[in-house]
């Protein structure tokens, strides 16, 4: 996937007038928010679990090198192979080399945001392999040749008609007049189609929700069971995972699992939580003969030790996305990168550069809802402010905004100047708006007044009124 985050404004404008998308987003808000709240209310220990989860991740990140080494040693001891990748290019190359060595043609894939991050499908296709997404949402967007618009429900932006159209276009050997009006019919069709692929695949690729240092295991959490068929039936199982996914023990994973599904979909727990350790054992009747783990850095190690370290606690639950007023208005594609919403606005500049991702760090009202619901207590608004400061320092904000902020900063550090300017502006604006109480347009803020009036100031500044009250 190529970043298109620079186009956020244009993408967002289009999203606002897309009725299908707006209907889908409305459902998202009604669904996930209520379900999460109910699941959290049902577990009195939820807040204590958040603290415990944060502590586990903070401890792990402070010793990340050691835990990764231990994970590697134990994964190898169990018969697995571990590959390290500094960036997307190295990770893609590692996966391709494993597929080639296995003589693979067809590859099934469980849902993996890291695979999206490294653009794995395009790379495998360009090299003659056929990757097939098996998570229903990922399968749908693969058929439509588009990226995910949400990290948990990738096809959230589509209604049933769009899915039916995609199936009719892709499943050509089926009767064209078949009834695809109900989601059930579409699911049954996808189940049949994907069964074929599961059984034919040479390699299965999954992501990982957790890497477990204690045992060298990888863990995935799914509801469909596609991840398990993906990793059990082919000869080779490849896991692609970010280096921040490691946790010390199976018990630590249990704490995070208690937070994950409740925060994501409001479920008590996902249907399938699967821990994989090495390849099949000699006596086993099924399972893959090879087990590979590709550990991806891609900007993560550089986030340690600075203002963005906390972001590495993220367990990709999407609660921040589901509760974000901006995401809820423009959807995920507007963000132009794999990760949307508040977590995406923080991660995107770290992965594709601040010049590309700058619009995203502005695309927040800093209302703080994301931090309130984040199970890992990640201070997302504070990190967005950090990015804004960096964008300003590096002159990445538009010239007029940059100078505007410089002037404002100059005045704000000199109270007498600030006060005089405010007093003049308040008086001036009130005079301009005399009679109407509001301003239709004002030079310099046309973007703001295009869709609303600027209410006129009362005529006197707050400080003046305050001083007067004190005197009384």
């Amino acid at each position: 996937m190529h970043p298109r985050s620079r186009a956020f404004r244009a993408n967002a404008a289009k999203a606002l007038v897309d009725p299908g998308l707006q209907a889908a987003l409305g459902k998202l808000k009604a669904g996930f928010r209520i379900k999460r709240a109910a699941a959290v209310a049902r577990l009195p220990e939820f807040e204590a679990l958040r603290d415990a989860g944060k502590a586990i991740k903070d401890h792990t990140l402070a010793h990340l090198d050691a835990y990764l080494e231990t994970f590697e040693t134990r994964a190898i001891a169990a018969g697995g192979q571990v590959h390290w990748a500094r960036d997307a290019t190295e990770a893609r190359a590692a996966v391709l080399a494993i597929c080639r060595a296995a003589g693979a043609r067809t590859v099934t894939k469980g849902k993996s945001m890291v695979a999206e991050e490294i653009g794995l499908n395009e790379h495998l296709e360009a090299n003659g392999l056929t990757p097939v997404e098996t998570d229903l949402g990922e399968y749908i967007i693969q058929l439509r040749h588009e990226g995910p618009s949400h990290i948990v429900v990738p096809a959230i932006h589509l209604d049933r008609h769009a899915v039916a159209d995609a199936f009719r276009a892709a499943h050509r050997e089926r009767a064209p007049e078949r009834d695809l009006s109900e989601p059930r019919a579409m699911l049954d069709e996808a189940r049949e189609e994907l069964r074929r692929h599961f059984l034919a695949a040479d390699v299965g690729i999954t992501g990982a929700n957790f890497l477990i240092a204690e045992t060298g295991s990888t863990a995935i959490v799914t509801n469909e069971g596609n991840g398990d068929l993906t990793q059990t039936l082919p000869r080779v199982h490849i896991v692609v995972a970010g280096i921040e996914k490691v946790v010390p023990t199976l018990n630590d994973a249990a704490v995070l699992i208690r937070l994950l599904a409740r925060s994501a979909t409001g479920q008590e727990v996902s249907v399938y939580t699967t821990f994989s350790t090495g390849p099949r054992r000699r006596e086993d009747l099924d399972g893959p003969e090879e087990f590979h783990v590709v550990l991806l850095d891609n900007g993560r190690s550089a986030m340690l030790g600075g203002p963005f370290q906390d972001m590495l606690r993220c367990i990709r639950c999407a609660a921040c996305i589901n509760h974000c007023p901006v995401y809820g208005t423009v959807g995920g594609h507007a963000y132009g990168w794999v990760y949307p919403g508040p977590m995406g606005a923080v991660l995107t500049p770290a992965q594709v550069g601040l010049a590309e991702g700058r619009e995203l760090v502005e695309a927040s009202t800093l209302c703080g809802r994301c931090e309130q619901v984040c199970p890992m207590r990640i201070p997302l608004p504070a990190m967005l402010r950090h990015w804004r400061e960096r964008a300003f320092e590096r002159h990445l904000v538009p010239t007029r905004q940059h100078w505007g902020l410089m002037v404002w900063g100059f005045a704000a550090r000199r109270p007498w100047l600030y006060h005089t300017a405010m007093r003049t502006a308040a008086w001036g604006l009130a005079w301009l708006a005399r009679g109407s109480g509001g301003l239709r347009t004002l030079p310099g803020i046309g973007g703001w007044t295009a869709s609303r009036d600027l209410p006129a100031p009362a005529g006197r500044t707050f400080r003046d009124q305050w001083t007067q009250r004190l005197r009384r």
């Binding site: 069971g225 994989s276 399972g287």
Partner: protein, 223 residues
């Protein structure tokens, strides 16, 4: 420089330190060797009988079906009964671990081994059940191949009441007690599902459309 060295060095540089001294590694290894239990929900506690009841209630809440039988031999007739109730042919693929069960005379055709795409019904044992969420814990191995848990349309899992634990951490203690981990540890909570089309919840995505749990009351009376 290899990517591995570069990444590990990068981590240390960001953390503004070098490699950890051996005593630090020892401290971390002690944490790994004695996994602690941070926060366990109250609902996973209580007497063993309460845990069994909570497990049974959660299994049903998670949209699996549940049968309770009084003894191990009764499991096979419960399997036959559920197949008849669902209108399925009397034929199953079962985990080799169940070879000693009294299949003869049950009227069921049974094959022992891994599942194929042609097997509509599987029967497997579970290592334990977790009361907190009604979760089954199943281990892969020659005695219980993983495909049985995912390929068939109906998965029947058998768990003993004596094997019901309260929390995930208790389940891990049981798994660790068996020695080296099997290739796969599956936690299964209800039948396969998806909500990827218009957020409509549908059961039976890629895994089993139905999960049927047979809970065997093997506890001594009065225990």
């Amino acid at each position: 420089m290899s990517p591995r060295t570069a990444i590990l060095d990068g981590i240390r540089r960001s953390l503004k330190r070098g490699a950890l001294p051996p005593c630090e590694y020892d401290r971390l290894n002690r944490r790994l060797a004695a996994p602690d239990t941070a926060v366990v929900p109250v609902r996973s506690g209580g007497t063993h009988a309460e845990k069994v009841e909570r497990f049974a209630a959660m299994v049903v809440e998670m949209q699996a079906s549940l049968d309770r039988v009084a003894s191990a031999p009764a499991v096979i007739s419960a399997v036959a009964a559920i197949l008849a109730a669902f209108g399925l042919p009397p034929s199953v693929v079962a985990a080799p671990a169940l070879e000693d069960a009294p299949w003869a005379g049950s009227g069921l055709t049974v094959r022992f081994g891994a599942a194929t795409a042609a097997d509509p019904v599987s029967v497997t044992p579970a290592l334990c059940g977790v009361a907190e969420t009604g979760t089954l814990v199943l281990l892969s191995g020659p005695e219980s191949p993983t495909t049985l848990n995912f390929l068939p349309d109906l998965h029947i899992a058998v768990v003993a009441a004596s094997a019901i634990v309260g929390s995930y951490e208790e389940a891990w203690a049981r798994v660790r007690a068996r020695g080296a981990l099997s290739r796969t540890v599956n936690w299964i909570t209800g039948p396969s599902r998806t909500a990827d089309i218009e957020q409509t919840l549908l059961l039976g995505a890629h895994g089993p459309r139905r999960l049927h749990v047979i809970l065997v009351d093997d506890r001594q009376p009065g225990a």
